[in-house]
């Protein structure tokens, strides 16, 4: 187990380094710079600004400095937003995204898994057709449609909930629903698939023939194995929810990481782009590792090695 985790961590670090290098050189090769503006800056002013941020040095030298800073956890100042370091930005906005992501994931699991189980147990009944049709619609309905729709209904028509901001508990409901419902649909379908696979096994038929009760079959024998596809999806889902909530954060004006990622890319704020890319990559690496561990714990046929 220890060896497995250690090996995966080293692999993860190498992946992070590779992602950092690719991102750095891709950003460096993109036309434009963080300092280009609609109103031209005089060349002598531009030179001063570039020197301040180290852009007067060759790309290779900048990369070495950047990596050594990143290894110490320093990603430098934002090249666009005055008085803000990338670390400050992450420290300020990550908890917001984490809170929104966790709530959305909680909602997705709480809704998606039971719906998937019921649909599998009651296969080919209305308890299967209705939730699965709804979940298919949920998957097809992107968050940029669902978000404004919820805002319109609960914010504008009924005036029940605020449609933008992050000021109190009531501000969390609509964005968490928008994000959570989308993933709930995925979890429902994955759980249904997993459970059906288990319920159609020969030994389940044998157990039924021997008179084992249906609830024992479902809860005691099939649930663990039936949840494996959903659990496999849990890691990417959490990383995706936290890192992929750009649209939801923009629609509901939430001061999380997603907004910064969009701003970083549009402003060509190189330091910010690098810092956020590494953070998201690290999240995905760690989540996948955790999922692997849980999978092995649930399915002894898989070995750590």
């Amino acid at each position: 187990m220890f060896r497995f985790v250690a090996v995966r961590l080293v692999q993860g670090l190498l992946v992070l380094l590779a992602i950092y290098a690719v991102t750095f050189f891709l950003v460096a090769a993109t036309p434009g710079s963080p300092f280009s503006t609609e109103r031209a800056i005089r060349p002598e002013i531009l030179a001063q600004i570039e020197a301040f941020y180290g852009y007067d040095k060759p790309v290779g030298e900048r990369f070495v400095t950047s990596v050594s800073n990143a290894l110490r956890g320093e990603f430098g100042p934002s090249a666009v937003y005055a008085n803000r370091s990338v670390t400050d930005i992450i420290a300020e906005s990550f908890p917001v995204s984490l809170k929104l992501g966790s709530l959305a994931l909680g909602l997705a699991l709480f809704l998606g898994i039971p719906v998937g189980i019921i649909a599998a147990v009651r296969q080919n009944s209305w308890l299967d057709y209705v939730p699965m049709s709804v979940s298919m619609a949920g998957i097809c309905l992107p968050t940029f449609v669902m978000g404004p729709l919820l805002a319109l209904v609960f914010g504008l028509i009924f005036e029940l909930l605020p449609v933008a901001g992050w000021f109190g508990p009531e501000y969390v409901i609509l964005p968490a629903l928008t994000l959570g419902l989308y993933y709930a649909a995925y979890f429902a379908r994955l759980t249904r698939g997993g459970m059906l696979e288990m319920l159609n096994q020969d030994w389940v038929r044998t157990a039924r023939a021997k008179g084992v009760s249906e609830s024992t079959i479902v809860w005691k024998h099939c649930l663990k194995g039936g949840l494996i596809p959903a659990i496999t999806f849990l890691g990417p889902a959490l990383a995706g929810i936290i890192s992929g909530s750009f649209v939801v954060e923009t629609i509901f004006q939430i001061p999380g990481l997603g907004q910064w990622f969009v701003k970083g890319a549009l402003n060509r704020d190189d330091f910010l782009i690098l810092g956020l890319t590494v953070l998201f990559a690290a999240l995905i690496v760690v989540m996948n590792l955790l999922v692997d561990i849980v999978q092995v714990a649930l399915n002894p046929r898989l070995k750590y090695e």
């Binding site: 031209a40 060349p43 002598e44 600004i49 005055a82 008085n83 409901i173 001061p255």
Partner: protein, 566 residues
């Protein structure tokens, strides 16, 4: 317990299956949350109006609040609440000077030397505002190491350019001097009767020297003086809270010299970039003002809420730059043909829909003493003739060229309309391609384009803010065009003896620009936004500078107040 709660609880007790029970609990929590969120039922905007807090949609997150380091409009709106220059914004007329830190002023006969008499004013930390604070601030702006992007604005000061470009490091050679604590003398490179208008721009605003020195010094780009904890201003409001991407709160300053005039207790600036979200917030009673409106919705709002949909003139030009270094645009007849074949009225009526004015020249109307050019009117017959003379009769043989736009639906729609008009009127086929903002800027400045969409908003109300950009070598020219006659006229305007002569020379310069047509004027801007009827003291302004100290909010009736007696 209300009926809804009773029903949910009853369902819960009947739910024996653990999953169903979990569902029932979830529904209970959700309903409780929704009911709790309902609150008193009073709209946020009404509640805020009663508290004297203006809820202001400000577009995007400010890149900073240091007036010497920022360049944007969202920053300007907040900085103008926190700081005040020598001359302030007039509440109704952008062309009028309003006393700010300067109580009075006078100039010599040719407007090249100005003396400002400062009032007894204080910074928010209690320091007196001194004439030397302005000297320090302008020295900071012109210090090359700071890298202030708007430093060029101060080149009008005698010796300002030489100091900024490092030809001297002696700031006493620059034309600004504190004669005593309350008197500031300014000497300019030449006559500038419009200098007072320039002073309204935030690049001329003062910063508190003691505070700046305490947090990194004059030339530090990452100076901590302008953060939430350290900000010291001299304006009508003080910085109270700043949560990134969320809110900036300013509250009435207790130390401001004219605090009795300030009616608002505060302003909450919301950096809402998404136009749909902003509009939903306004309609849901969460904003008193939006930053903008989606063009497609303007006709709907005009019909449904005419008292709230604002369309006001704005001193800016929307135009296309032409790369005159490329064929076929090196031929002035082709450039003119493209410019004359655009039916701008149709374009603003059917595409932009925001009441924009079809542009017949480059400098927008509304500048005192300046006659608007009519050189770029819609003349399709002449356009076809010119194109034929250039060797492309009916568009035959016209090479493949493209319009470059930055990624934005509004720009695409305009480009498509232009494309269609050129196809119809001239028979030429012109493509469209878009690039992300920074890439687009790079392509434009390196002349890597055929035609590119552009916009220019006045920094101050005077024709030179528009015309100066097309002089040879100007970093904003970006067309490859150069005309010595134009450069000479712009230079001559700077030293004209009288205001009438200066305006006449500038008009001649614009005529030269329109004769060579390195640009295609399309429309003059308007500001379109939604405004609550609760707002008072907010007037249309061509530079969109609304001094918040004159703005107030009408208190709405209390939600549970009895109806008025008949």
């Amino acid at each position: 317990m209300n009926e809804q709660h009773a029903a949910v609880t009853s369902n819960l007790s009947r739910a024996r299956h653990p999953i169903l029970r979990a569902f029932a609990i979830l529904s209970l929590i959700t309903s409780a949350g929704l009911l709790a969120a309902c609150g008193s039922g009073e709209r946020f905007t009404d509640e805020a109006a009663r508290d004297g807090i203006l809820l202001f949609g400000n577009g995007s997150e400010p890149k900073g609040l240091d007036p010497h380091l920022v360049t944007g409009v969202p920053e300007n709106k907040i900085i103008s609440a926190l700081l005040e220059g020598l001359i302030a914004y007039h509440p109704t007329d952008d062309l009028q000077p309003e006393p700010g830190m300067a109580e009075s002023w006078e100039s010599n006969d040719d407007f090249s030397q100005w003396t400002f008499h400062l009032r007894d004013a204080r910074w928010s930390n209690g320091d007196p505002v001194r004439a030397s604070d302005f000297v320090y601030s302008w020295e900071r702006m012109l210090t090359p190491e700071l890298g202030a992007e708007y430093a060029e604005m101060l080149y009008i000061l005698k010796g300002g350019e030489a100091f900024h470009q490092g030809r001297t490091d002696d700031f006493s050679t620059v034309g600004v001097k504190a004669l005593d604590d309350r008197t500031l003398q300014v000497t300019l490179e030449g006559p500038a009767p419009y200098f007072l208008n320039m002073l309204k721009h935030y690049s001329w605003f003062p910063v508190n020297p003691r505070v700046v020195e305490a947090h990194g010094g004059m030339a530090d780009r990452q100076s901590g003086w302008s953060t939430l904890e350290n900000y010291v201003g001299n304006g009508p409001f003080v910085l109270d809270d700043w949560v990134t991407n969320q809110i900036i709160k300013v509250r009435k300053s207790p130390t401001y010299w004219d605090r009795d005039t300030v009616k608002l207790n505060g302003v909450n600036f919301y950096p809402v970039e998404n136009v749909t979200t902003e509009e939903t917030m306004f309609r849901g009673g969460r904003l008193h003002l939006t930053n903008t409106v989606t063009p497609d919705k303007i006709p709907v709002f005009l019909e449904k809420m005419p008292g709230e949909m604002m369309i006001e003139p704005y001193m800016g030009s929307y135009f296309y730059r032409i790369n005159v270094t490329r064929k076929p645009f090196d031929d002035v007849r082709v450039r003119k043909a493209l410019a004359y074949s655009i039916d701008k009225k149709l374009l603003v009526d059917k595409v932009t829909k925001g009441g924009q004015i079809p542009a017949t020249g480059f400098v927008p109307p509304g500048l005192k003493g300046y006659e608007t050019s009519d050189a770029a009117e819609f003349q399709p017959e002449l356009a076809r003739r010119l194109l034929a003379e250039a060797g492309y009769p009916g568009g035959r043989g016209f090479p493949d060229v493209e319009i470059l736009i930055n990624t934005n639906e509004a720009h695409r729609k305009i480009a498509e309309a232009m494309q269609a008009m050129w196809r119809t009127e001239l028979g030429v086929e012109i493509g469209i391609y878009n690039q992300e903002w920074k890439v687009y800027l790079d392509s434009q400045s390196s002349l890597d384009y055929d035609l590119v969409r552009a916009g220019w908003i006045a920094d101050y109300a005077y024709p030179s803010t528009f015309l100066d950009i097309f002089t040879t070598g100007n970093g904003n020219n970006d067309t490859g065009w150069s005309n010595p006659r134009y450069d000479a006229l712009i230079a001559r305007a700077r030293t004209a003896a009288t205001e009438e002569q200066r305006m006449a020379i500038l008009q001649q310069a614009e005529a030269v620009l329109m004769e060579d047509m390195p640009i295609i004027p399309i429309y003059w801007y308007t500001r379109t936004y939604l405004k609550s009827p609760l707002i008072e003291g907010w007037h249309p302004k061509v530079l969109d500078n609304h001094p918040l100290k004159y703005v107030s909010l009408k208190a709405p009736p209390m939600p549970d107040a009895p109806p008025p007696a008949e």
